[in-house]
């Protein structure tokens, strides 16, 4: 079964989303935009244009550019909405039986066919995005749509080659996005939708997981475009006051003012003041004229205050029709770009007496809800399939008591991870795998989950044996750790049952502790790294002497011994700088002796891995990373 996409087929813009890995995701169109204008056109050469392209050519081709067909879909010719729109729309409508057809190019189209053109583009773009055919969809419609309008929307889907699995109400979709269907009790929900061109208020009642629309109201001609217009007019007046120039006939200047108005409006949702700066806005005989003005949020709010207040009446009516008081509304959901404006949110709070729900992009909240409904229908949304994450990092102890993480915290499970380690001393017969949980740098500070030995490692210089350690964490949080000697094939493992069995408080405590000690832990770890460096230098010096006893002069041998002795004195120091200096000094002393050796021998020694670190401890020693380039340290 393929994906069921969710489509918000809007009056001015449409959006679509899909469930992916149990989460809804907005699908960008071919142009890379998250919404697509609901506009179609046929140009002079008979080519069909949809979306942004259709909108860009609208003024050149108004008779053959159709927009807002949602206002006509499923309606009869006699409907008063249709009769009013005949006068408002730039395209020609004709009566066809009982219903409406629209002239575009040489042909006449039903609103369903025109909506289908938008849906076809969405379908094609979704297929490109998902890399698979899309044949099924959930489409949203306004709550006030009657049966005919719903059926017509379904037909539009069919024409576009989509099987419409369900038509759902826009406010219901928005409520689904906020998971309001998951609440156990019966709730009353208000959905306040102030979009680009229309305002809708719906009162829903939830019972047994089913939403019932109790009432709807609104204003079919109130939206963001009206807000922009008010602001542009203000700019025109300001410019006239300052310069005495009426700019309304200057198309280029007007275009810039419109862009600036929209930008300022959006910015003032997050800041308190913006500077509108439009140099060279126009030119007179005296030269260029600039326009610069400061606009505060308070000023904007006073300009659009009336528009915001106009939404109050429909809200009151809707509540009255539903027979509920504002105090009985349990949740308020915001839909539409204009609800980002703080003044609008304030008004909503005033009307319903409670903070509205925010968090999801209000332009996308309906499409997301449709996708969730699609996911439920496709069987994608199942509670049992919810994936968990591991709350804390898991790792093993490595040389110097350092914790090396294999699985980072917040990794989605099930998961597995392998890494190759090695011995830390020559001829080391066994390694101990100490499994740790936690965020701290030092193993002693983390929780020990268990430990085991892998023995029977064939005698070899340090760093040569390859011990592959594999962490396998299953969906239930059961951790299996296996260590395998790649040389002998011997392996040992341990299973830890409750690696994920932590309370929320435990996890939070562990995380906070790690944060609090981050600096101190880092220093400790650095000191150990430097100490390991020094030990490595001592090991190399010793090895150089032992391997080449007959080729090194007695003087050099003596110098080496002295240098090694000197370095060994420093090994217990806890001062990072001192350890670093000692390691550097020793390396400096070895280098000229090594260089002499190379001069003597024409055939270089085997390319044995010699860049490993030494350790004079006995017995089992924690693993040491072999493939250094895979890790930081």
């Amino acid at each position: 079964m393929g994906k069921i996409i969710g489509i918000d087929l809007g009056t001015t813009n449409s959006a679509m989303a899909v469930m992916e890995g149990g989460k809804p995701e907005i699908i960008a169109n071919a142009e890379g935009n998250r919404t697509t204008p609901s506009v179609v056109a046929i140009n002079k050469s008979g080519e069909r244009l949809v979306g942004q392209l259709a909108r860009r050519q609208a003024v050149t081709n108004p008779q053959n550019t159709v927009y807002e067909m949602k206002r006509l879909i499923g309606r009869r010719w006699e409907d008063k909405e249709v009769q009013r729109d005949i006068k408002l729309m730039g395209y020609e409508m004709v009566k066809s039986g009982d219903s409406v057809k629209i002239k575009m190019g040489k042909d006449e189209y039903s609103p369903e066919e025109l909506s289908a053109m938008v849906l076809t583009k969405l379908k094609t773009d979704a297929e490109a995005f998902l890399g698979q055919p899309v044949t099924e969809a959930v489409i949203t419609v306004p709550a006030y749509f009657d049966d005919a309008q719903r059926q017509a929307t379904k037909d539009a889907g069919k024409i576009a080659g989509l099987e419409v699995k369900r038509i759902i109400n826009e406010p219901t979709a928005a409520a689904l996005t906020y998971g309001l269907d998951k609440t156990k009790k019966d709730e009353k929900i208000a959905v306040y939708d102030l979009g680009g061109g229309t305002f809708d208020i719906s009162i829903l009642e939830l019972g047994d997981g089913v939403f019932e629309v109790k009432s709807t109201n609104g204003d079919t001609h109130l939206g963001g475009a009206d807000f922009d217009r008010v602001l542009v007019n203000y700019f025109i007046d300001e410019f006239k006051k300052e310069n005495g120039i009426d700019i309304t006939d200057d198309r280029a200047a007007m275009q810039r003012l419109r862009d600036e108005a929209e930008k300022a409006k959006i910015e003032l949702s997050t800041t308190n003041e913006v500077t509108v700066n439009t140099p060279f806005l126009t030119a007179t005989a005296d030269g260029p004229v600039h326009f610069e003005t400061k606009l505060t949020r308070a000023k904007l709010e006073s300009l659009v205050g009336d528009l915001v207040k106009r939404t109050g009446g429909p809200c009151e009516k809707a509540m009255k029709d539903a027979g509920v008081k504002a105090s009985e509304i349990d949740a308020v959901v915001l839909v539409g770009g204009m609800t980002r404006m703080p003044a609008v949110q304030e008004e909503v709070k005033k009307i319903f007496g409670k903070e509205p729900m925010k968090g999801v992009n209000p332009d996308e909240v309906v499409a997301v809800g449709a996708a969730i409904q699609g996911g439920v229908l496709a069987g994608d949304v199942k509670d049992v399939l919810l994936l968990d994450v591991t709350p804390l990092s898991l790792g093993i102890e490595t040389m110097g008591g350092v914790s090396t993480k294999l699985i980072e915290r917040n990794t989605t499970i099930p998961t597995s991870k392998s890494e190759t380690f090695s011995t830390a001393a020559d001829n080391q017969p066994q390694v101990e795998i100490h499994v740790l949980q936690g965020e701290r740098e030092m193993s002693a500070d983390n929780k020990s989950l268990g430990r085991f030995l892998l023995d029977g490692i064939a005698p070899a210089p340090r760093g040569i044996p390859q011990i592959e350690v594999t962490f396998n964490l299953d969906a239930n949080g059961i951790l299996n750790v296996t260590a395998k000697d790649k040389g002998t094939g011997k392996e040992q493992s341990i299973t830890i049952q409750n690696s994920g069995n932590l309370s929320k408080d435990d996890v939070e405590k562990a995380r906070k502790e790690a944060e609090a000690h981050a600096e101190e832990d880092k220093k400790k770890r650095e000191a150990i790294d430097v100490k390991n460096q020094l030990e490595n230098a001592i090991y190399q010096a010793q090895k150089l002497k032992d391997d080449n006893g007959d080729k090194i002069s007695d003087d050099d041998k003596k110098a080496l011994d002295e240098a090694i002795e000197e370095a060994k004195k420093k090994i217990d120091s806890t001062d990072k700088d001192e350890l670093e200096a000692a390691a550097k000094e020793l390396t400096n002393k070895i280098m000229p002796i090594g260089a002499k050796l190379y001069e003597q021998t024409t055939t270089p020694d085997s390319d044995k891995k010699e860049d490993n670190k030494t350790d004079d401890k006995e017995g089992p020693v924690e693993g040491e990373v072999v493939d250094d380039d895979k890790k930081d340290k």
Partner: protein, 157 residues
């Protein structure tokens, strides 16, 4: 007295159905993951380009105004060294933008193409061909990607 333990029903048909369902879920998830990986890789490549584009888009208002400043060069101080310097500076900016692959869309006289142009004014004429009469705001493209269409006045010829 010993009470018979109720036997757990192990309906094989039910088990089979469950296995099939889970296998289907797994396959779908795997397919989804493969598709997701492919898309993320595509997006990563695109993102590098988009990063450049976003930086230029943020600068476009300034670039526009520099262009306007040069267009409105005052006649009376045309030969002033400072004015000439500013003109040279604008040219230098053009050169640099060209070097990073940014091209202007300023197609006066060319046929109208909504892929490249956004029409805001229409001047009626007798002909059938729609051409660009005036560029109100220069458009920009990066390679083949239009990052901002030119805002134009269109006429029929």
């Amino acid at each position: 007295m010993i009470k018979d333990k109720p036997k757990k029903s192990k309906d094989p048909a039910k088990q089979d159905a469950k296995t099939q369902e889970l296998t289907a879920d797994l396959q779908r998830l795997q397919a989804e993951f493969m598709n997701y990986k492919r898309r993320v890789e595509d997006e990563r490549i695109k993102l590098i380009q988009t990063g450049k584009e976003q930086a230029v888009i943020a600068l476009l208002p300034v670039i526009d105004n520099i262009e306007r400043a040069v267009t409105h060069e005052p006649v009376d101080i045309k030969n002033h060294a400072w004015v000439q310097g500013v003109t040279a500076l604008a040219k230098q900016l053009d050169g640099q933008l060209d070097a990073i692959g940014l091209k202007t869309i300023c197609d006066i006289g060319e046929p109208f193409d909504p892929n490249r142009h956004e029409a805001v004014v229409m001047e009626d004429g007798d002909g059938d061909t729609e051409v660009i009469a005036e560029v109100i705001q220069t458009g920009y493209q990066f390679g083949d990607t239009i990052i901002r269409p030119a805002i134009v006045k269109v006429k029929r010829v």
